[in-house]
Every structure is written in structure tokens, then in C-alpha cells.
Symmetry: C2
Subunit: 243 residues, 2 copies
């Protein structure tokens, strides 16, 4: 039996070799890396592969290039931690903050869509939607109040049993082979609503971060319209903004 060829791409291996090289040779901030020609000899791969590896390192802000001069190591050899520009589920966000995610299910129901939902999910007049209402917990604290709406058609017009479900993304992927690819998110600073004051026991003088999100699949179909109220006591969101 043959072991699968190239389980890991050469460019990925080359990238790791280059990181190794930087560490072993103690290349400091703003010091020059070997040229692409030298790297292809050192690593025994083509220039294309070297450039792919360097592109990966550049995206991670580990190196930068100057045309005509060379490739250099950035000031901070630090992994930039990912921010809101990276699409993650609320479950993943809570985990990445170092908390244990939990869910309190409040409601799952088949509904008529509002005009807003019809527009955002590109529904026809006869379509129904299913709305999921949850409180998300971080350890024992309330992290967020989440309302997700999906076209009922996607779930075969059947209200699912959600007791053990944590991540909506994972549920849709596992049960319906629906894969979310990207989202357009609107940031709305707001004060807690009446409902939240009751349900979330949030101080009415604390402001809350409301994210209105439309999630799309690879093909560009809108699949989930969600409104997430995050407790800004617990979450401080970051965004990495690139030119």
C-alpha cells in the first residue's frame, strides 16, 4: 500500500523550512532573507513554490518584500491573532477567548418572514422561515443573545430538534451538507432591549454590541440571517484592517 502523495503541499513544507531557517539563524527584525534564487537552491524546489511559501509568510505578516531589494523579516515575529474579519461561529469565538461555550435554548419555531427577512434572505412571498433563539454562555456567564433565522426550505420545512446542538454552522453542515463560506456583518452599538434586560439580566446602563449578519455559502446564496447581542463586558472584538 502506497502512502498518499503530498498529503502536505510542498509550498507549506517550504514555508515551515523558511521559518526554521529564520529561527536557527537568528534573523532579526528588518534583516534580509536569502533571495528567491538562493531559497530555491536551499530548499530544492522551484521558484514558484518558493514564492508560494513567501506569499503565505507575507500574509501572516512574518516577512515583507521590497521589489529590487529583497525579502525581510518584520518587526514583530508574532502571529497576528485573528479578528472579526475571520468568519467563526459564536461557539468558536467563545472557545478562542478561553471560555467553555454553553447554550440555553429558548425557542425554535416556524414563522412567517418579516419584510426585512424576505429582503435579506432573498425569499419569495410563500417561503417560511425557522427562527432559533438562544442564550450563549461563556463558562457560567452570559456571553450573547442570539437569534438566527434560516429559510424553512433549507431544513426541508421541518422544525428540527436542537437539544444537543451547540454550533449552528456545524449543525447545518453535518445535517444538511450546507457550508457557510462568508458573512456580511453590520456593527450596531445599542442599548439592551427590554427582552434582554429580562432574559439576560444585563445592566441597563451597559451597552451591548449588536451584530446583524447575513451568512452566505460559496455560491453566494444567503442562508442565515442572525442578530447577535454580545455582552461587551466579556467580549472585546478586534479587526485586522488591511490596505
Amino acid at each position: 500500500m502506497k502512502i498518499k502523495d503530498q498529503a502536505v503541499h510542498l509550498s507549506q513544507k517550504a514555508k515551515e523550512k523558511i521559518i526554521e531557517y529564520i529561527e536557527q539563524n537568528h534573523i532579526q527584525a528588518d534583516e534580509k532573507l536569502p533571495s528567491e534564487l538562493e531559497l530555491q537552491k536551499m530548499l530544492g524546489v522551484s521558484r514558484y513554490t518558493v514564492r508560494e511559501a513567501l506569499t503565505l509568510l507575507e500574509q501572516e505578516r512574518i516577512i515583507y518584500k521590497i521589489q529590487g531589494k529583497g525579502t525581510y523579516v518584520t518587526k514583530r515575529f508574532i502571529q497576528i491573532e485573528s479578528g472579526l474579519e475571520k468568519l467563526e461561529s459564536t461557539t468558536e469565538i467563545i472557545s478562542s477567548f478561553g471560555y467553555e461555550p454553553g447554550t440555553v435554548w429558548l425557542d425554535v419555531s416556524l414563522e412567517e418572514p418579516t419584510p426585512d427577512m424576505i429582503k435579506k434572505l432573498k425569499l419569495s412571498q410563500t417561503d417560511k422561515v425557522i427562527t432559533f433563539t438562544r442564550i450563549r454562555k461563556a463558562n457560567d456567564d452570559i456571553a450573547a443573545f442570539c437569534i438566527d433565522t434560516v429559510p424553512a426550505q433549507l431544513l426541508n420545512n421541518h422544525v428540527p430538534q436542537m437539544d444537543n446542538v451547540q454550533s449552528m454552522f456545524k449543525f447545518l453542515e453535518d445535517s444538511f451538507n450546507i457550508e457557510i463560506q462568508y458573512a456580511v456583518t453590520e456593527i450596531i452599538p445599542s442599548l439592551p432591549t427590554q427582552e434582554m434586560l429580562k432574559e439576560l439580566c444585563i445592566d441597563k446602563n451597559k451597552s451591548v454590541l449588536l451584530l446583524h449578519q447575513i451568512h452566505f455559502d460559496k455560491e453566494g446564496r444567503p442562508l442565515i440571517y442572525s442578530r447577535d447581542y454580545f455582552n461587551s463586558e466579556i467580549f472585546r472584538f478586534k479587526i485586522n484592517r488591511l490596505k
Copy 2:
């Protein structure tokens, strides 16, 4: 005199040709594009160039690819409007919302850095900073209250005259050849501070979107630490989140 070769890259031209092809042949959502082999024959370029063009189109969410099957047009043939993940100056943001940007200069002064600034701008103990305080306007409305702090050393320890300056980015670039490349931004929903209530005449029950940003150059040097309070009556920020 010879006209400059390849002022526009072939891959860019190829991309435009493909868009033209999609439009002229009325290729609808989820319909298939010619294969890469066919495209290279049609466009008279190599496969590498075709793939570069397709990569550009994929990033703009105009097409999507499925390995083994082909390349398809996305549901909405619509330019995704850029959001906060794209680094723009406040001046550019105001313009892109369709307003005329304006600036009211409140203060420019040389100061001792706070411990927070020392940490965020990686200063040494003896370094000074220059802080710029402005009100930014969108037509005649108050758009934001902006406090920008830069290491004094960057400006040759000299407090500049800023009367006619709009964009800080452009000022640093033109006057000191300093180019901002990316920023790490923290989103902080907050209530207006005392100072803002006075200066901005903002209703104290309205919440405000506070962005704490650290701006870096290509090399990874922190250059500007800014605190921008945006009037959330006027601005609704979007983020495009990608997996």
C-alpha cells in the same frame, strides 16, 4: 519613444475579458464558465495567467470553483462593498458614505506618553509623543471625535502646523514618506464621555462606536495609536467576514 510595456498586467486584462464574456453570453448564476484550458485558448494567454485572473474574480466573489467540476458564476453578480476589514482613513470613510468630509482642529501638542501609549507604540522611556485632536465632519454633521497619537521622533520632534490637513494618512505619507499598511482595531461600544457631550453636542442616551486602532507600516512598526468615537447615528459599519 517606446510606450511602456504592460502598463496593465495581462492577468488584469484577462479578468476584464472574462467579465465581458460573462456579460455578453448572459451567463447566469450557477452556470458554468469555460474550463481553464478553453479560457487560455480563447484569451491567448498561459494557464497561469488565466488562473491569476480567476483568482481575482474569486476574491471579488464573482465566480467560485469546484475542483473536478468547473468554474461557476455566483448568485449575485454584485460587487461586494468593502467594509471595515479594508483599511481606509476616516476621510475616505466619510467620502464613501457620500458626505463631504471636514475637519475642526481642536489641539496639536507634544506630550509625555501614557503607559498605555508606551506599550502600544513600543516607545522607550524617553520618547515623547504628539497628539492630534480633531472633530471630523460629514457635511455639516459631526461624524467623529478623533484623537491620534504618533511618536514625536517620527515627525522629527517638531509639532507641525496642521491647518489645511484633512487625512492624517496622507499627511504622514506626503511629508514624511511614512506609509501605513495595516491596523489592528478594537471595537468598543461605549457611551459618550463628558468631553464629547460638551464638544460634540451628542445626546447622552445615544451610544457611540469607539475604535481603538494601532496602525502599522509594512515592516510592522506601530506608528499611530488612535481613538475614534464615531457617531453611530451617521455611520453603520460593515465587515466582510471570510472563512
